[in-house]
């Protein structure tokens, strides 16, 4: 077991798989609610939270960072809703107005106060999954990479959230009015979901950075959406596809000697493209076949 945790390859694969699994669990609901781009807004603006917490406490990871980032993520969504509610700008513009402010502020703070340190602007965007095994913590006598510990916890929390509120999430996603009428508090659930997305983003931050994280949240669920109509299957497919993308991405990245995180994220895109072309019911192939059937029938 100790050898398992000491092996960089296993740790990189495990971290990647956990990022993909945790991201897909929340991402499925974001994609179905047509709020995919909120994950983009959140993952950019948590940079602000991470930098502020780091400046105040010098903590680079751990519970403080996670709490700070969760607050920043929820704040982003909250501010976006406020701007949209003025009805002076449309919702899409509101998203695009709020997160760049937080992100730009975070980057400027880094420029000013953290020039020669671990978190530079490069890592902020790209992450360094190749180095996650360097930063370890002793737990039950094993040296375990911090990223693995935090990602496991977050994945577990996301899984428990989805299992515990499966029915509520399902109703709130497909029929928000009904959920409200049944007293299921869809707004609270919405903010919980986005809070979990933020927590996932910050736990995954060291590994994949702010932008690549979006690929693990949106692309596997969107791929699964092309393959099934059942929510439970969509969740399962999304997790499996996300994990598969990270597992395929790693050897490819090593073979080409390029960014591991980038290749893992790009592989989710390859899977999507395959589903988009070949999915029997919802892909281009299905589209084309249905049209032919209609013409001949």
């Amino acid at each position: 077991m100790a050898a398992f945790f000491a092996d960089p390859v296993y740790m990189i694969l495990l971290t990647g798989a956990l990022v993909a699994a945790a991201g897909s669990l929340v991402g499925t609901f974001l994609v179905l609610q047509r709020n995919s781009m909120l994950s983009d807004a959140i993952s950019h603006s948590i940079v602000f939270g991470i930098v502020v917490v780091w400046l105040l406490t010098k903590a680079q990871s751990g519970p403080l960072q996670i709490a700070g980032a969760a607050m920043t993520g929820v704040l982003t969504v909250f501010l976006t809703e406020i701007v949209a509610r003025t009805r002076r700008v449309k919702r899409d513009a509101a998203i695009g107005l709020v997160f760049p402010v937080l992100f730009a502020t975070g980057v400027l703070l880094l420029n000013l106060y953290a020039r020669d340190i671990h978190i530079d602007t490069h890592t902020v965007l790209l992450g360094e999954i190749g180095f996650v095994w360097l930063d370890t913590m002793t737990l039950w006598g094993w040296e375990i990479p911090q990223a693995v510990i935090w990602m496991s916890l977050v994945t577990l929390v996301n899984l428990l959230f989805v299992l515990a509120f499966y029915k509520e999430l399902k109703i709130a996603t497909f029929d928000r009015q009904l959920a409200a009428a049944l007293g299921l508090a869809p707004t609270l659930l919405f903010y919980l979901l986005l809070g979990l997305t933020s927590i996932t983003a910050v736990a995954a931050f060291d590994a994949v950075g702010a932008v690549l994280f979006i690929a693990f949240v949106i692309v596997p669920p969107a791929t699964a959406y092309l393959l099934t109509d059942r929510l439970s299957l969509m969740l399962l497919f999304a997790v499996v596809l996300g994990v598969a993308a990270t597992l395929c991405g790693y050897p490819l990245a090593v073979a080409m000697d390029v960014s591991v995180g980038g290749t893992m994220a790009a592989m989710t895109g390859v899977f999507f493209l395959l589903a988009f072309l070949l999915s029997p019911r919802y892909g281009l192939l299905g589209h084309w076949r249905n049209r032919r059937l209609k013409v001949s029938g």
Binding site: S36, K90, L97, F103, A104, T121, I214, T268, H287
Partner: protein, 379 residues
């Protein structure tokens, strides 16, 4: 400050910022009005692989080729989003997210591949992530100016069609305009703004430059022509302010400063723009509330007067307080200032009383008439 303006580098940078403001203000106006703000986000991230491909073609940081590469991959991303949304059940938000994250991932792969190459001039490619305005050279400006000119000419040439497609695509289709093609052109043109911003703001924050100037300008004016001109102006202002500020403070990346300047303009516009500004509507709401309070008070006094068959019937303030559940003194004082009520004494031992004046009596009748509650019926 003047010495700064005379500096050759600063002149270049200012010219670049001006071009960026013009092109992003122009094309952003269409994007914001067509609710395609986040397309700017996706397209700017999608420029990254193009930047790398442009570099790979020439082996140097030649801005012309880099812009050409970025333009190509951005337009491909835009077409990808349209294709996916049209031919599958994927909605626009997910389509944008996929295009954004996957093309950025490809860009990261290329970026690390280039960094692994034995080539001295590969350094500094990642300045395109956040922009590096200070590195702008005179020859770069020709490319940026050329793209800006192209955008301006395209919009001027297709002005009527683009305007119609933006505001009423159904009508545009009914009179035989090629709506889908025009919409694709407008979407792809966002990529033109993105590539002009590469050097100045970088790929990650260009999204704000597409949205912010246009969203700010929209608050002040309602005609498309005016909105575009104002949004260009705001784009130029935020570009110039951002560039000058980041040039005076060491170590600041230009992109974030430009973006914060543009966002500040949005905040000011949302609050202060005449007609649409939040401050004005809060003020109007407050005045309306106050007027309603006064009208309510007048009718209450009027009804009491009618009930007692005395047009100047004195009413005690504390009774009104408990009737309304709030302190009515401010309302009463303002009615007194307007000459609608006057202090009156009822019994000397008791508190302040108020009675309607003749003017107040007829004002109350007017209010009730406006509300459709004629005096005869209520009497």
């Amino acid at each position: 400050m003047l010495a700064l303006l005379g500096d050759y580098t600063v002149q270049n940078v200012l010219l670049g910022a001006t071009l960026l403001g013009v092109v992003s203000g122009l094309l952003g106006s269409f994007a914001v009005l067509r609710q395609q703000s986040l397309m700017g986000d996706a397209l700017s991230h999608a420029a990254l692989p193009g930047v790398c491909i442009g570099f790979l073609i020439t082996g140097t940081r030649h801005l012309g080729w880099i812009m050409a590469g970025a333009l190509t991959t951005s337009v491909i991303a835009a077409l990808f989003v349209q294709l996916v949304v049209r031919y599958s059940r994927i909605k626009t938000d997910a389509g944008l997210g996929i295009a954004l994250s996957v093309s950025f991932a490809l860009g990261v792969m290329l970026l690390t591949w280039i960094q692994g190459m034995p080539n001295a001039s590969q350094g500094g490619l990642d300045t395109f992530l956040f922009g590096q305005a200070a590195a702008t050279r005179r020859q770069d400006l020709w490319f940026m100016g050329g793209v800006t000119l192209l955008a301006v000419l395209l919009v001027m040439g297709l002005w009527k069609q683009l305007k119609l497609v933006t505001f009423d695509p159904l009508f545009a289709g009914s009179i035989g305009l090629p709506v889908v093609r025009l919409e694709s052109i407008l979407t792809a043109m966002i990529a033109l703004a993105v590539v002009v911003g590469l050097q100045m703001v970088g790929v990650v924050l260009m999204t704000a430059m597409v949205i912010a100037p246009a969203a700010a300008a929209r608050q002040w004016v309602s005609r498309l022509e005016h909105m575009i001109l104002l949004s260009m102006f705001m784009g130029v202002i935020s570009g110039v302010v951002g560039v000058l500020f980041s040039a005076t403070v060491p170590h600041l990346a230009t992109g974030p400063v430009v973006v914060l300047a543009a966002s500040a303009l949005v905040a000011v516009s949302l609050l202060l723009a005449p007609g649409r500004g939040m401050l004005w509507s809060w003020f109007a709401l407050w005045r309306e509330r106050r007027a309603i309070g006064q009208r309510q008070m007048l009718t209450t006094l009027y009804k009491l007067a009618q009930h007692h068959n005395d047009p100047h019937y004195p009413v005690e303030r504390s009774m009104l307080d408990s009737f309304y559940g709030v302190a009515t003194d401010p309302i009463l004082r303002r009615l007194h200032e307007r000459g609608f009520i006057a202090p009156a004494s009822h019994m000397r031992v008791e508190g302040r009383h108020w009675a309607l004046t003749d003017a107040g009596y007829s004002e109350a009748e007017k209010v009730l008439e406006q509300l459709g509650m004629a005096t005869e019926e209520s009497a």
